[in-house]
Symmetry: C2
Subunit: 215 residues, 2 copies
């Protein structure tokens, strides 16, 4: 993909990506035109094509970068040599924080897979699978260590991911609950869902989850 070097080009490209995420989230990918996007950014349509030769290149870039960002964030947040409970807590905390920060991009990434070419869809799905596998590994390790009680690792991973990503649908900063409170509550629900046996009991998990957030 053509990419100008230097800060002006980079700034324009970043502005294009940002405007594209918000336009696609509002209208849907198929309904958004490159002309509309150019108008939003304040450049000629021809300028867009220097950065994204086709509209699908743009969509793929948004989706690939979303998943690369998620994998990088998890890579940075993942505790080394920790027990399954701490690893699961870190996964939940990172997942919620990452997606709350990127509501529109998450929306686009989940809804517009249908518009990717087969080859690119495969690439994006591979990254998703790698990310989900991290969670499945934590769940399996915890079940093997006897600290989680899980019927089906794959199903549990999907249930947790969809429960957590669902936060972006209704959470708005500044309303009844803070992000820390929501995260603590989701951590407590997650630990109960996986049947976690935590040494200091599970009778009042909210306070405990708050501790886990501060790991």
């Amino acid at each position: 993909m053509a990419r100008t070097t230097g800060s002006d080009g980079e700034k324009t490209e970043a502005a294009v990506r940002e405007a594209a995420v918000s336009l696609i989230a509002r209208l849907g990918y198929e309904a958004m035109s490159m002309r509309q996007l150019a108008a939003e950014v304040g450049v000629q349509a021809a300028a867009l094509y220097r950065y994204f030769p086709t509209k699908e290149d743009l969509l793929f870039t948004l989706m690939r970068e979303h998943m690369e960002g998620l994998l990088a964030a998890w890579s940075a947040a993942r505790p080394v040599a920790a027990d399954p409970v701490s690893r699961l807590a870190a996964y939940v905390e990172n997942h919620i924080a990452f997606h709350i920060e990127r509501r529109h991009a998450t929306h686009v990434s989940n809804m517009e897979l249908r518009s990717l070419s087969h080859e690119r869809l495969t690439q994006v799905l591979k990254m998703r699978t790698a990310y989900e596998k991290e969670l499945r590994t934590i769940l399996r390790d915890g079940a093997e260590a006897g600290v989680f009680s899980i019927d089906d690792t794959g199903l549990t991973a999907m249930a947790l991911i969809q429960m957590m990503t669902g936060v972006i649908v209704w959470f708005r900063p500044g309303e009844r609950l803070s992000l820390a409170e929501v995260t603590a509550s989701y951590l407590a629900m997650t630990m109960r869902l996986v049947g976690a046996t935590i040494s200091h009991g599970t009778a009042r998990p909210l306070g405990r989850a708050r501790d886990a957030v501060a790991l």
Copy 2:
């Protein structure tokens, strides 16, 4: 809204709704044209307007009927004078069965709210709130009776609904798990998440959840 009586008109209207759900799920509402929809159904575009004077009338009808169907299904499935655990099991079972049967309509209902007028959005959201309130009531009754252990009723209701609706993203009939197995597993996860204390223990909830399905 104009509506022809008699079976031909009704058949056409049903065909329009069905084709619209599948086109909107594929392209997005903004990208779908009434002309395209007419071609899909095999009628003149003018004929569509007898049933749906505007494109938004069509979208609203799809969304309203989806929610009416969900509320009616729950109304029929809701056990009378049952304990909170049985009521929660019935809610989970009905929610998963209803949405698995209507994957595309669920997708449209969740994604295209942005395209409804303010007044109609309010109507649809009221129906959603009524449906979610049923779950919150079950959770609150269970917490008050001491059979559930819940930190935040509202948050738990959202988490459960999003976890359950998420099934439509990945579940395909005929793959590794049957719908009954998936439902049993989600019931077990739900009961653990709400900290349900079931009289015969919670050590192996899958078998127990299967019993609950057959209530």
